[in-house]
């Protein structure tokens, strides 16, 4: 790793990193206020509507009516589409800005003329991006802790939310691997971002539709959302290590593919 490039990557994106992490924590607080203000009976009525139940089950990875506890409700904020959208936007922004963005802007000439091997460029950027993960997870957990304090929901088990945050980190790591891999293979930032969002859209669509259309159940294994099931963690009181393994391996495959291509590719003039 090259420390100067690692620092530069973090410095280039520090507003996004801190702003995004703060937004995620703030969202958890707001969400907990919102759910706390709703009567539990009202929530149960909504969950009796079949399509709402299916939709939330697809997002949470398990039937929420079986875990209608304050902790169960709090975990919903960790898997809410708004939360995931912030995280995904942050990852794609940094990953594409740091590799394909350099090619797109033409600054790769400066970077690649320094005595830093391509592998080191790739790993320095990757480590900088990966370092944002713990900050986001801590921000999520702190949001839950603040929300718990402010709403007086002392029944919320913060220990369980730590486990959910750990699983969240592996979703983040998978997305980092994929975004860096795609970024390393493209020459235009807009193309890289389009591909990454295409993958996310596919995964989200398959995950949601599989809740309504059983025929899609087998395809749903290709969706990374399937491997992020916070309610299962609440039910079992442990991280879903099989899902963690799938996310880690898939992310590593994308990352390695990106590294191989990045080391061998041409950097044409822009």
């Amino acid at each position: 790793m090259n420390l100067a490039l690692f620092n530069k990557t973090l410095r280039d994106h520090w507003i996004f990193i801190l702003g995004g992490s703060f937004l995620m924590g703030l969202f958890v607080v707001v969400f907990m206020f919102a759910t706390n203000s709703l009567p539990m009976e009202q929530t149960k009525v909504w969950l009796d509507v079949p399509w709402i139940k299916s939709l939330i089950t697809s997002l949470m990875g398990s039937d929420i009516s079986s875990v209608m506890t304050p902790s169960g409700m709090a975990t919903f904020s960790f898997t809410h589409p708004v939360m995931l959208a912030i995280m995904i936007a942050l990852v794609f922004s940094i990953a594409s800005g740091s590799l394909v963005g350099e090619i797109d802007r033409g600054t790769i000439d400066l970077l690649a003329s320094l005595p830093i091997s391509r592998s080191r460029i790739y790993t320095s950027v990757s480590l900088a991006l990966l370092c944002c993960g713990p900050l986001m997870c801590v921000s999520l957990w702190c949001g839950a802790a603040i929300g718990r304090k402010l709403t007086g929901q002392s029944e919320i088990d913060l220990g369980q939310l730590v486990l959910v945050a750990v699983q969240f980190f592996f979703v983040f790591a998978f997305l980092c691997g994929m975004a860096l891999g795609v970024s390393a293979m493209c020459s235009r930032r807009v193309v890289a971002i389009t591909i990454c969002f295409g993958v996310v859209l596919y995964a989200f669509t398959v995950n949601v539709l599989s809740a309504f259309w059983p025929a899609l159940k087998y395809i749903s294994y290709s969706s990374f959302f399937r491997y992020y099931a916070p309610l299962k963690i609440v039910e079992s009181h442990s991280v879903q290590w099989d899902s963690v393994a799938v996310l880690s391996i898939a992310g590593a495959v994308f990352w390695m593919a990106g590294l191989i291509v990045f080391r061998r590719r041409d950097f044409p003039s822009t």
Binding site: G106, T107, L110, S113, P115, R264, P268, S269
Partner: protein, 298 residues
């Protein structure tokens, strides 16, 4: 000893041939000019030397190391200024120089400060607010600050005012005085003539001329303009080496190649009113190749 050795280098992009069979050597301590019109293959050659592009054929060695597989080792000893110097707009000039210094392992800060003074650069400002000339100065400073053994400069004077151009020439002369090497690409012939001691001319992905500046200048054509009241006879015999370009109202223009002795003897018999013989320049030699390319000669 040669710092750069290129042999039968080729680069293709699909069906497009960017370079074919390029061979050249750059001796240690020289100021080597790499001349050619836009799109001739200069930048492609330089990018291969830096390991930014992989050659499709042939070999490129810098400091005796392979330009692709050992490019990191090579880049420790060289610095590159790209033709269109793109910098990190969000940084200040100082932040960029510090980043480059740290990425290179340090040791270049004192020289960077000296160069900022030399090129009169206000490095504390954000690069986003820099003019083209200021960007170019900053790019030059980050290239020179670590005193590399080999400087590869792709059209470095672009955007510089004449005073700063002169300052750059002085710096580059100092570089070679210290035994270091400059490889300098340009399509501005006058600066290559002024600065370089060796030149290669590339056209359509091929080296068409290569040698010392003086030897190439000798092979360049002299422009000859003759004036004679009453005009020149249609049957005027001209010596070998003279090519008549035009005759009009007692004025005849042409070009001369080779030694001037036969030309002077011939002119002495013509009873001329006026004669003008311009010194040979690389521009003429370059224009010859450029014209051929324009005529489909590439």
């Amino acid at each position: 000893m040669n710092v750069v050795e290129i042999s039968n280098l080729a680069k293709t992009y699909g069906d497009v041939v960017a370079l074919r069979d390029v061979s050249l050597t750059v001796p240690c301590g020289s100021r080597f000019g790499f001349l050619g019109p836009n799109g001739a293959g200069k930048s492609t050659t330089l990018r291969i030397l830096l390991g930014l592009l992989r050659a499709s054929g042939g070999s490129a060695n810098v400091f005796g190391l392979d330009a692709w597989s050992e490019s990191t080792e090579i880049r420790r000893r060289l610095a590159y200024l790209s033709g269109d110097a793109r910098l990190y707009d969000g940084m200040t000039g100082i932040a960029l120089l510090r980043f480059v210094d740290r990425a290179r392992g340090g040791g270049g800060w004192r020289e960077a400060t000296r160069l900022c003074d030399r090129f009169e650069l206000a490095a504390h400002r954000k690069i986003r607010g820099y003019s083209k000339g200021m960007r170019q100065k900053l790019a030059i400073i980050q290239t020179l600050m670590h005193k590399p053994d080999l400087l590869i400069l792709d059209e470095p004077t672009s955007g510089l005012d004449p005073l700063m151009q002169q300052a750059l020439y002085d710096e580059l002369r100092a570089v070679t005085d210290e035994g270091r090497t400059v490889l300098f690409s340009s399509h501005t012939l006058s600066e290559v003539e002024q600065l370089c001691d060796r030149v290669a001319i590339v056209r359509s992905g091929r080296i068409v001329e290569s040698g010392t500046t003086d030897s190439l200048r000798e092979r360049a054509l002299r422009r000859v303009v003759l004036k004679r009241s009453g005009g020149f006879p249609e049957t005027l015999a001209v010596p070998d080496g003279m090519t008549i370009r035009s005759r009009q109202d007692g004025t005849m223009t042409g070009t001369w190649s080779g030694s001037v002795d036969p030309l002077v003897r011939w002119l002495s018999d013509l009873k001329l009113d006026d004669v003008s013989i311009s010194p040979p320049s690389l521009e003429d030699l370059f224009a010859t190749y450029y014209r051929e390319e324009g005529n489909g000669g590439g």
